[in-house]
Symmetry: C2
Subunit: 469 residues, 2 copies
């Protein structure tokens, strides 16, 4: 594709994306295709000869679009959001255009240094402890997802407690990891990958508010120590996936300190709200955290993937990860004056992801970001009030930020029928969870273009459908 | 950013990228900044108020560009390439614009089904065994990098040999992994992460051609079995990072089968050449491979990140990775009729990466791709001939594809001086490795726009600089 063709095709694609985003709320939110529908329409062999870009764009329209579930629709209320934005998309475009691979400082110093600076910006914006800033022993890095951040934290914890023996000799069979029963499944996956094993992951009971019970944690710690095991890793969740419950950092941090556990704080979704001072209560006790992560790709308008991960002591992480073969040696690395982010993550190579976060922070400004998050929270409270006043529905968890969990009073079958009816309508998309055996619908309000009218229309449909289930 | 602003800014950025790619060979290839130069020019706090896109783009020009090492320059001959292209960039743009998160089939069926189909296309294009196609028990998936592919393969191997106990109880301390002494460091990293440990990774000696010595492997296997250990995983490399040497798959496959090892084939760079039938010799013996990976983001014009990874038995991989919490349950997953790619990878979330590979395959066609790779190989042979005829330089490895390894006859200091002089010139960028204590320069010819004139100019500079060292 010569430069002139690239210009023409690129501009056409920019228009296509703009048209899409302008009309996204007209699409059925959840794709209606059945398994195999998309594949069946694609040739089973690659083309021998080159094709025109127009042919590809036509196939995007005809074949791909029916198979898209529209995460960017203002009527997407499922899971947690993955809210993109104009500046986020432009940042991703620029990253693709530069085509930089930032595994080492030397392979593009700006890729590393912008990331370090933007992570410092984020730490300031969220009110994180000084110890996470890059001028200390700590620092931040962009991971693809919170799952990878959790795995990195667990590997650093494993390395710290075994003092190098874990890397050398494999994982001793006495390490134990702890999280609440409501923690994200990424902990289970990380514990498997890192060789801790399902059998030594303790799911600690929660209190009435959904946060981990520190007394139950202490009992588990003592039982494990008495059984000759070594508590190694504690994951505290700020904003659980099911109901956005908050673990109490302060008492968990005291227990982590007392028993020598690595304390990782998973604030993937809710942590974004800490850009608003009124939501910083969740960070009380952060002074004892060894690592922390939050996903701007969830609720801070930065295209997926962008997870911000900080550690208090970068050396623990680097010791767990660093291997320096001959073919990666270079004067900058050997000087010890630079960060090589390959040693802060699972893969070797890395994209220039800091650009999109930099563009988003500058485009909105902290003020603009706060305003949007506050509006989402206001809409969630309004929605919760409607649920509370409804005869058919019942709210099942407190609304701290932008997630409302509710059930049908007639039971699980009515709830499942309600969800199916809503999602099949194409006018909105919610997801579900289970709490104490109850089928629960989740209304997560965080898409970039979600406004009052979308939430009101969603409520109207939910209310009327619920009365018919 | 409203749609009209997005259109205007997006088109300006398309022009900016086109201008950049048109002029990329005029930049010094390797960035000349010193540690801290870029960071020092960035404010230390995020902006409170929003800024114009023009201000950001101006800062890209003034602050970021001096810190870029130009991977897309036709004079980039370092490491292995990360060769992007117009259709690759457009695919990444479209992915960013759609903002899809494809963790489950249900969260965008097209994201999963296009990926499955395009991986089948790639398997056909490379002549991979039928057992890797998606209509069998096997199938393919896009990973970020070959490092992650290696880790996934090792986790599947660990799960298979322990029959579930690895996930449940942690990693037994008798598992052993094998690779050649020239294998990529990602194996060491994966073995650490997966809890095998450095002490149970065997680096098998190579023969004169740089490929693993099967007799040495067999001796190592027998010694470990006699010591009561369990051989678990064998990584064969097609195209090592230092010199692009090839492990002999046929005898390695026989040993893997005999001793029950998982055979993973890492063809990250060289595997791309298998789109040309004349290079398929490297795949002889593939019938015994359990998994295979190749990176179109290296040498197939598809923007980083895009690693294609196949397994012969998808269930082994899924058993190692799958955890299904309540909040991800959905009818499609429960039907068992769909692929949920979250269970084929380390992270949970995933971008719509198949778009860029689809665009690249369709834009070039297999014919167009073969033509470009053949030209890179031709230029490498020409370059090797020049080295062979030069009085100051000596070639140190056979040229199978597009990598030429050479040294200065006057010794390591002369070689290091030569590399520094070349890279400091800004006119080209090479990297280095060490072979048997010798400092070796690597000339890797694979950038999208690298033509004969670039290789000739590079040779002229190398030749004349070498005569002065």
């Amino acid at each position: 594709m010569d430069p002139e063709e690239f210009r023409a095709n690129g501009k056409q694609l920019v228009d296509w994306i703009a048209d899409y985003l302008e009309s996204v709320e007209d699409y059925p939110v959840q794709s209606r295709v059945r398994p195999g529908d998309i594949q069946d329409r694609l040739p089973d062999r690659p083309p021998e000869h080159g094709e025109e870009f127009q042919a590809m764009l036509a196939d995007v329209e005809e074949i791909i679009m029916p198979g898209i579930t529209h995460w960017q629709s203002p009527n997407f209320f499922a899971y947690f959001p993955a809210n993109a934005s104009g500046p986020g998309i432009l940042g991703e475009m620029l990253s693709a255009g530069l085509g930089v691979q930032g595994m080492l400082w030397a392979t593009s110093p700006a890729c590393t240094e912008l990331e370090t600076r933007v992570l410092d910006w984020m730490a300031h914006a969220l009110g994180l402890p000084e110890a996470f800033l890059s001028h200390t022993e700590g620092g931040g890095v962009i991971q693809d997802t919170a799952s990878s951040a959790t795995l990195c934290a667990l590997l650093a914890a494993r390395e710290r407690i075994t003092d190098g023996a874990g890397n050398r000799d494999g994982v001793p069979d006495d390490l134990v990891a702890y999280a609440s029963s409501e923690a994200h499944s990424s902990l289970d996956k990380a514990a498997r990958i890192a060789g801790i094993g399902d059998a030594r992951v303790r799911k600690i009971a929660t209190r009435g508010d959904g946060g981990m019970d520190p007394d139950a944690l202490e009992r588990a710690l003592i039982a494990d120590i008495e059984a000759g095991l070594r508590p190694c890793f504690l994951m505290a969740t700020l904003g659980t996936t099911s109901t956005m419950a908050f673990d109490p950092l302060e008492p968990l941090g005291r227990l982590a300190r007392k028993h020598g556990l690595w304390l990782h704080v998973d604030a993937a979704m809710a942590g974004n709200a800490a850009i608003c001072p009124e939501h910083r209560w969740m960070h009380e006790g952060m002074a004892r955290a060894d690592s922390y992560c939050v996903n701007p790709h969830k609720w801070l308008f930065t295209n997926f993937d962008c997870d911000c991960f900080w550690v208090r002591n970068r050396h623990a992480l680097i010791r767990a990860m660093a291997i320096l073969p001959e073919y990666l040696k270079n004067p900058a690395t050997e000087s010890g004056q630079v960060i090589d982010y390959r040693d802060w993550q699972i893969p070797l190579g890395r994209r220039f992801r800091a650009l999109k976060l930099w563009f988003v922070l500058r485009h909105f400004g902290l003020e603009g970001l706060r305003e949007r998050l506050r509006e989402h929270c206001r809409l969630a409270r309004w929605f919760a009030d409607q649920v509370d006043a409804d005869p058919h529905l019942e709210r099942v968890a407190p609304v701290h930020l932008n997630l409302v969990c509710f059930r049908h009073r007639d039971g699980n079958e009515a709830g499942e029928e309600l969800l199916e009816k809503l999602n099949d309508s194409g006018r909105l998309y919610l997801s579900s969870t289970r709490l104490n055996g109850q089928f629960v619908l989740r209304m997560s309000i965080g898409q970039t273009e979600t406004r009052e009218r979308h939430v009101k229309a969603a409520w109207e449909r939910i209310r009327s459908s619920a009365s018919e289930c």
